[in-house]
């Protein structure tokens, strides 16, 4: 019984979280569009209504009551003219967002096994927003709806039907006729908007993307009867009906979902990873033994195909869209700009980009810091911006792009740029620099900002997410093989770029053979590989593409190796190269965590971040360039100002 209760509670939490996320996205879209379309108002209403219902089932009376109050306001918005932000809409959106915040907080408390907090303050705010709305919207009288009073909520048990029409004259009136045609089968039918026949301006939209009906079938009427009848109406080309359960839960969710504990998924991923590796080893073994049986070769091919397919499917299962992270940032910018009096336009680009579920936290932690810094330190107050000839409104652009197996995230602001002198001074005071200096490159600047101990606890405000500093957030990005870079220009703004492999489990690698040893580099760390010219052979530094590159040494045993292959590292690390006897471009390998035992044992000597199982079954360690640079520093091999 206990388990069953827990299951229901888990379901309540996860569904409510989904609904709150949808609610947030609607509200924030309304905020930036400057108006809430009636369709979105209906959707907002429906989400709040669903949250209310779910809270009532779970007997969370406080949540139910707040949702109920908000529902009253929202039901008023669904009819009538297009409400604009002037009509007290800002208040309403704010109060909706406060509701969503409150609800989310309570979900967190529920997760921790705590009780629900009192909602008096929120309820009062909702009531006062309602009062101000009624005053300001006195002139926007709600237009009557043909089938339902517009103030009526979408009836519970509604099925959402999505219809498409062939080209026809006056489609908005056609919609209304079609809706009427099934009245005999239904308790109620509602178009969105309710008085669709009065909206000729929607014709284009209806032709393009169809229209929606909420229908409550009478007892004994099957969904199929309803859709059949609708499909037979003139001009109707298609009728889509989601499953009734999904329709009741979530209009946007067209597919049913199941909840799987993350731990089970992880187990599955581990087994599939092993399957792919085993297959790969087996295929090598067969080849070495000279097995030429064509049937065996065929079966091996099929096994490979299936194994890879299974792994790809499983990695898709762990993917989520980045939208939720974007939304969180939009929220942050909105709240922070309101509090600081700065005017900020937040632009996000790259909605729908998929990321590995296991990385979301790392990404959002890092972005949170970067966006917060952009608002706090980047964007100037409006009067200052005007004085220096900028637009009063600052812009923060967050973009996500996926290419070549890498996810590139960028946070850009058009503010004042990072104050190098101040950063350098502070770094010197904190002992991060050996001597005072007054200029530095972008990459040096980044290393200072990312070094532990630069940002103090005093800097950590309530927007710092789970309380980790920028240093830790960036370190975690690097731990998952991500790279960070920075461009900043005084008076023009800054741009942080994060490049992260799109999945945690696969890494494009380069195999290094040095002496007796074999180790891996992430391909994203490598700029170029070439043979050393004789003259350059014994030099510590080499000139490559007109730039001087410094040599990085592997620890102890291999110090004196003087191999011919030079591996130049990508610029984000500074200018370094490594010597190797030879290199191999291996394809993607499965990335495994380095056992904690190894990092504990090696401590500061550790230069590895992960390991991979190579095609021959050997477990190879992946070199972490940052750690390697630090190890070289320790050994006195580099004279740099930045101490690690």
């Amino acid at each position: 019984m206990r388990d069953r209760d827990n299951e229901i509670l888990d379901l309540f939490i996860s569904e409510s979280e989904q609904n709150l996320q949808l609610l947030d996205s609607l509200l924030l879209a309304a905020q930036s569009a400057g108006s809430l379309s009636r369709q979105n108002a209906a959707e907002t209403f429906r989400l709040v209504h669903t949250l209310k219902g779910a809270s009532a089932i779970m007997r969370y009376r406080t949540l139910e009551q707040s949702a109920h109050l908000l529902e009253d306001i929202l039901s008023g918005l669904r009819g009538g003219g297009e409400p604009s932000l002037q009509n007290g809409m800002t208040d309403i959106l704010n109060v909706c967002l406060r509701f969503s915040d409150f609800f989310s907080e309570q979900l967190e408390r529920i997760k921790r096994g705590e009780g629900i907090a009192a909602s008096d303050e929120l309820d009062a705010a909702i009531k006062s927003a309602a009062a101000s709305m009624h005053k300001s919207s006195a002139q926007t009288v709600e237009a009557p709806c043909v089938f339902e009073a517009p103030a009526m909520p979408i009836p519970s048990g509604s099925i959402l039907l999505h219809l498409h029409l062939r080209k026809c004259p006056m489609p908005h009136i056609r919609c209304s006729v079609i809706a009427r045609s099934v009245l005999s089968l239904c308790e109620s039918v509602m178009t969105v908007p309710g008085d669709i026949e009065r909206h000729p301006e929607l014709s284009g939209q209806i032709m393009e993307s169809g229209f929606e009906l909420y229908a409550v079938p009478k007892d004994g009427v099957e969904l199929a009867q309803l859709t059949d009848k609708l499909a037979k109406q003139p001009f109707v080309t298609s009728v889509d009906a989601p499953t009734p359960k999904a329709a009741a839960q979530n209009v946007r969710q067209r597919e049913s979902t199941v909840h799987i504990p993350q731990s089970k998924l992880n187990d599955l991923f581990a087994v599939l990873d092993e399957l792919v590796t085993t297959q790969s080893i087996l295929s090598d073994v067969l080849e070495k033994d000279g097995v030429t049986d064509s049937r065996a070769a065929f079966l091996m091919g099929r096994l490979r195909h299936n194994a890879v397919q299974a792994r790809d499917l499983s990695s898709e299962m762990g993917m989520v869209e980045i939208d939720a992270v974007f939304q969180q940032m939009r929220r942050l910018v909105r709240t922070m700009s309101q509090e600081s009096g700065k005017e900020i336009l937040f632009i996000s680009d790259g909605d729908g980009v998929p990321v590995d579920g296991g990385m979301v936290e790392t990404i959002s932690d890092a972005l949170l810091h970067l966006v917060r810094n952009a608002v706090d330190h980047g964007i100037e107050p409006p009067d200052e911006r005007i004085r220096i000839g900028k637009k009063a409104e600052g812009t923060i652009t967050l973009s996500a792009k996926k290419e070549n197996g890498m996810l590139t995230l960028s946070v850009k602001d058009d503010g004042r740029g990072i104050d190098r002198e101040a950063v350098l001074e502070k770094a010197f005071e904190k002992g991060l620099l050996r001597q005072r200096k007054n200029s530095c490159s972008d990459s040096e600047l980044l290393e200072i900002l990312a070094s532990s101990g630069f940002s103090t606890n005093a800097d950590v405000s309530r927007y710092s997410g789970r309380g980790v500093g920028l240093d830790t957030a960036l370190k975690r990005v690097r731990d998952i093989q991500g790279g960070v870079s920075l461009e900043s220009a005084a008076g023009k703004g800054s741009r942080f770029i994060l490049r992260i492999p799109t999945t945690l489990s696969l890494l494009n690698v380069l195999t290094l053979y040095i002496g007796e040893d074999r180790a891996l580099l992430s391909a994203s760390d490598v700029a170029s590989v070439c043979f050393a010219a004789r003259a350059e052979k014994r030099n510590e530094s080499v000139i490559f593409r007109e730039q001087e590159y410094e040599r990085l040494y592997m620890p102890a045993a291999t110090r004196d190796c003087d191999d011919d292959v030079l591996v130049f590292l990508s610029e984000e690390h500074g200018r370094f190269y490594i010597r190797a006897a030879r290199t191999d471009i291996a394809a993607e390998l499965l990335l495994l965590p380095l056992p904690q035992y190894i990092s504990d044992m090696l401590g500061k000597e550790n230069i590895f971040s992960n390991c991979c199982i190579d095609k021959d079954g050997a477990i190879l360690c992946v070199i972490d360039i940052y750690k390697l640079i630090a190890a070289n520093d320790e050994g006195g091999k580099r004279n740099e100002d930045i101490r690690q």
Binding site: F269, A270, V271, D273, E274, T277, I514, D517, R518, A519, M554, P555, A556, A557, T558, L592, P593, L594, P595, Q596, Y597, I598, D600, M601, L602, G603, E605, N606, I607, F608, C611, I613, G617, A618, I619, L620, C621
Partner: protein, 138 residues
């Protein structure tokens, strides 16, 4: 079956270099046989205190010897017997000469070890340049 009821008292006995050891069964994930070539060394001389890494159920795990100095006969070219100890991120394999029995009686001659002390003895103490014989004995 009665004597198996209280698992907390059960110990797995094994020998390393002619010496008898016992470890609580609750800390043993499994005993496996591992081929020498299935163990990959840590490169660049960084694996001085670890035999190497081996793959178990899709994870890479470290393989260690229980005592640096004891004349362990195990290893060589053939298969090794490995006792997999600990849990989660702290799992590791210990090379043994052989596993003898599971018992709930205390063997007064055997050295009692547990996963945590072995882990600390090997991974942590060594990183501070300690050289422990019988690391992890109590």
């Amino acid at each position: 079956m009665e004597q198996w009821d209280d698992k907390s008292k059960l110990t797995l006995r094994f020998t390393v270099g002619g010496r008898r050891y016992q470890v609580p069964v609750a800390e043993v994930e499994r005993v496996l046989s591992l081929q020498r070539q299935a163990v990959s060394p840590i490169p660049f001389g960084l694996g001085r205190r670890v035999e190497g890494l081996f793959s178990f159920r899709g994870a890479a795990l470290p393989l260690v010897r229980i005592a640096a100095a004891s004349a362990c006969q195990c290893g060589g070219d053939g298969d090794m017997t490995v006792v997999l100890l600990g849990e989660g991120a702290k799992r590791f394999g210990v090379i043994v000469d052989g596993v003898s029995s599971i018992s709930d009686a205390q063997d007064t001659d055997a050295v009692s070890v547990c996963a945590e002390t072995l882990y600390k003895g090997n991974a942590q103490a060594f990183s501070q340049e300690g050289s422990l014989n019988d690391a992890g004995s109590r």
